[in-house]
Symmetry: D2
């Protein structure tokens, strides 16, 4: 693991998620650019001190020097946004697979460069747009894929939080500090931190591409340098329309990611805070409340579930599904077999690049107060 | 009553709402421009045949000729949009008070003209933006008025329906027929029919004025001449931002009007389909679930309630609150007393004019694909 | 109307409900045993003073003396429980139909006597177990009747309120005062006031008869003479089992009547506070959320609905459905036609008698701390 | 681990829960009484084959023979109910701490014997009544402990499932098979499997003791030997009353454990399927929706939480809190320090014994169709 030093929240999430199924184990890390703090975190985790490093470069080199059966299998990069690209390159070049936090990079060029590196090496590279790991999100994708709601017309996606409704960054709160700093967060605030998840969720579930964006980006908290609120109008290839709301100043909202998709024949609705439920409504009948764990779900949803219905699974399990797929994909390569559909069901470097591209277009739309062409033109898995 | 002939839905709503408190009684009407159908509806209602008229003009003249104690006290105009202005003028000029359906008129000029007529005569003129009649909407207004959520930053209002997701108008369905016909509905489809309610709700609850609008108006159902889906970005005086979604092609949505308002100190959330609940969340504590009928509510909310908590009130009661205020306002005038706050708590002709102005600006925003200045410049109650 | 004097809550509910559809009009009343208060209420209602009476006996006599086309069509008895029997007898004997509040009477003998009077005269006699007036309750009955959940196994019914969790009666609150007084309320407190509705709801929806009862009746508020909390175990004919909870000391509960019925093939769930929704779950598929006003509902549910889906109907409309059926039944008799299914869909005097019988058995079960046989042995519509 | 062989559900839950925080690691096991299957499961888990045993006795002996720093720290017993007692004794006698599934044993004597063994050795012995591990359950306990709802009057607890509504055991389904077999499950079916959790939840949250029980136990599925449905009336020390419903034939119910507690000053409500929310309602104000992860919660709730609000935690995290406390308690003993409140916050062997005692009394109540004295008379932590 790169990043995730003392006090970081997301590092511990990655560890719990990765280890949940017993297929991965955290064995090495460069947890902080401060070697003392890195070592401290290594001790907390009970790691072998020889595999706790003071920098990601040192770690990549040292691990690559270990015998194949002892070295790490892949690295998780859980640093602030501006520190994704470099370590990702270094580990890819050292021959490792990568799990990287989102947004993938702070510039479009960097994102495309990573795509090229991954493509050249046929590496496994996952970006933790973790919300697509939820079983009922996979069910939504299956239902739309099988045509159950007909042609998609309208998409309403929201990601609303309230934790930045005051100038939390000025209190020294670490999470708020880097997220509101353009040097570390990149071109976008709320859009980058959570809007990028909303965009990825729409892409994953509907398969539709954003064609153009119009948006209103606002900074409500005085002194903040990045937008903390954004409302976007979206036009999709094929004629669907949508709105995306991302805000971190919506007092009372915890982690309010929700998606509603309306088609010609039906509609789907899902809320991250109640992730085990997906509501499907046909054009002329009662709504159906689909719940995780039941035998009536699609294979993708069924395979992403660990517990019987009514035994709540949550954020960690959804996150763990990204790691489970990564482990499956790596395992398939090691065993020389074709990866299963489940092994390939993780957000790829290309999905990450799409996200970075989207963010930059959305920010431009905000800057110009008008519609901006936003069709993705970067590398894809098939190019 | 003008309009509300056989098969009309809203006429019966007006009757039930007006009569609910026993303060009003339907005694005369021109229910249809077809005298036979008007008479038929009169018989259904058990009215004196001599007071069932073949046209609104005939009705206004005849009723005005009756002795003061026998004539109607006010008229309800419940016709399609293009038939609001003329009867409203005629009845105002004949000296009657008016309750008129929304949107007030199909042109801004007509709306302003009505404002002038009303202002000149000091008539009572209510526009049935009925959703502000709900007690918990009044509570939301009270809470914001008293500063409980601080300065408003973000407003999310939606009005989503699904009943026009197919070409229902081509089946002869009466409600769909006129609402999708520009000659009768006016410049807007979904925006006029339901978006205008959403706009009015925001104005009523927050008191904020729309400053500019950017929007995306779409017609999804082939052959339809008016938009059936609209997404608007809104900027309000004072810096608040918002989105307004109005759609009639959202499969599965029934009458999905909802409002969320986020301020510096708290947030409020209300849904029309569960109208008895208002959720308030402070910036640093648990949400409070405020419920109709309790002693902890504001006088405005308390006074708009008829039953104890948990005995559901609904659409009719909210609608009846408009009529209750109208009856109160007329009563105050008759009795020569100052109207109470409750007597004045109905949507006025000026509110109606604001709505018409808003609709035209929103449609222009859709046409031009850019931001449009939208500050209301028409008559107000104080001009 | 008999009862419903100044300050009474339920009298106004009866008036609004009766008049909602325009088929009934309140024209006469003995609103209080105090002639002055009766007259005051008559004036409030704008009634002809000559038809506002000082006692129910006077009213029955005077109205019977009026010409048939001028006299009342039926009477609504909305007095405290101990004052149901006498006026009901008097009006029945004077040839009037009756709507009577619940529980029907304070003794089983009185209830059976009323059954006989009604049977002898073929009168229309409705008991306002109004909760069965809700459309989605009618839908639940239809679904069970059509076998959709198979054989009923388990019934969970609750009616929980919190308004009597303090000694409200000692503050002079009128509603609390008589309901906690055995001389006026009868043998039961919470069970009589609300438990009787719960029992009626179960009977109506499932058609099953209670066979035996075991119960725990408690008085939590000091000094109160009737139970304010009751938990019953129920065994039904055919082997179904159930529990009935009725309490008025459940702080925070407003009017928490709910019903869950589990069968061999499916289950149904309904909550009075969200009356427009009925949830059906099959044994092997997702739940369906059935909503009032849709075309997929049964005729009984469809016919009991006034507004489109999503325009909330509530308590008054459900209550009004009892009056609508009564008006239909009386109309059928007047017109010499057979009443329709809808005309007969109201709680009858026999249902009321069943309720009184149930209450007495439940109270006995509480007294003896054991199982009590509780099969109804009184008159029925077919005896 | 003892038990949890191939196909077992709860073994994997224990593993995920134990390992979640990185404080425990599964290193040895007797996963099945069939050595081949035990070995198979060991391989699946990647364990050292020398520590995968063919029987629990072998395992206890072999592990005890290992040097202290290499042997297991504690054992998890996850076998069917009839196989809890023996291995628990053996491991306790071999000097190990124990985590044991519930119900603790199939007889009261066995339960009391385990209490004595634990008391004699000062062992850490947890029974996985895991639902008390949820943060918001801990919050409920804190709120009641601090007097926020006043004196408890009424307790409604339910645990409803539907998965045994058909004769699933006759299809060879392993989970159904042993749970419906008296030889393996013990004296009770639904009561033992899930009613015991409901009872424990009530004890934990309210601190009240069951004084007497009246109950109705039913077997709905033909051929089944244990009750699959139970309704209990409960009387608690101090005068509170309650009902407990446990059923496995409630079609559509997934894992419907819920608790409502009503006091003189307020009420609390919690549902396991939405475990992050606790609703508190005061006697005279709006409900508060308390949510996991917020700073306004009690230390017990705060300490049991891993993620920020709105990032759903679920069943595994609640379960893991039992293991976290066990690890803390063992750690405290190893380090010679006094355990913290959190270290002691797990269901003990005494809680388990209470549960077994309760089950036997409830079954007796069902058998005798009357009230049964049920005050716990067994060993406690202070005896």
């Amino acid at each position: 693991m790169v990043g995730g030093g003392p006090g970081a929240f997301i590092g511990e999430v990655h560890r719990m998620a990765a280890e949940l199924d017993g297929a991965c184990e955290l064995v090495a890390g460069a947890f902080s650019s401060d070697p003392g703090r890195s070592a401290e975190r290594g001790r907390e985790l009970g790691l072998d001190a020889s595999r706790v490093y003071g920098s990601f470069a040192e770690m990549a080199a040292a691990e690559a020097d270990l015998p194949a059966e002892r070295r790490i299998q892949f690295v998780s990069i859980v640093t602030p946004n501006h520190l994704h690209f470099e370590p990702a390159c270094v580990f890819l070049e050292a021959g490792f697979d990568v799990v990287c936090d989102k947004p993938l990079t702070t510039s479009i060029d960097d994102a495309y460069e990573l795509c090229r590196l991954v493509g050249d090496r046929d590496a496994v590279f996952a970006v933790t747009h973790n919300y697509t790991g939820y079983p009922m999100v996979k069910e939504a994708r299956s239902q739309i894929g099988s045509g159950r709601i007909g042609t998609v017309r309208k998409i309403l996606v929201e990601y609303l939080q309230g934790w930045l409704s005051t100038a939390l960054e000025s209190t020294g709160q670490k999470q708020a500090d880097w997220r509101t700093d353009p040097a570390r967060a990149g071109v976008a605030g709320a859009l980058g931190d959570i809007g990028s998840h909303a965009h990825n969720l729409v892409q994953y579930v509907t398969g539709l591409e954003v064609e153009s964006i119009c948006g209103d980006l606002t900074t409500f908290v005085e002194g903040r340098k990045l937008e903390d609120d954004a409302s976007l109008l979206l036009r999709f290839t094929g004629g669907a329309r949508g709105t995306l709301s991302a805000s971190q100043v919506c007092v009372g909202e915890e982690n309010g990611l929700s998606l509603r998709v309306y088609g010609t024949d039906g509609a789907l609705s899902w809320r991250q805070e109640e992730p085990e439920t997906l509501v499907f409504t046909p054009v002329d009948g009662p709504s159906e409340v689909l719940r995780r764990g039941h035998s009536y779900l699609s294979p993708a949803a069924a395979g992403a579930s660990r517990l019987p219905p009514g035994h709540p699974e949550g954020f960690i399990e959804g996150f763990a599904n990204v790691y489970r797929a990564v482990a499956g994909a790596i395992g398939a390569r090691l065993e020389g077999r074709a990866p299963s559909a489940a092994d390939m069901d993780y957000p790829t470097v290309f999905d990450g690049a799409r996200g970075v591209h989207f963010l930059h277009r959305a920010v431009e739309a905000g800057r110009t107060d008008g519609w901006v062409a936003a069709r993705y033109d970067g590398p894809t898995s098939t190019t």
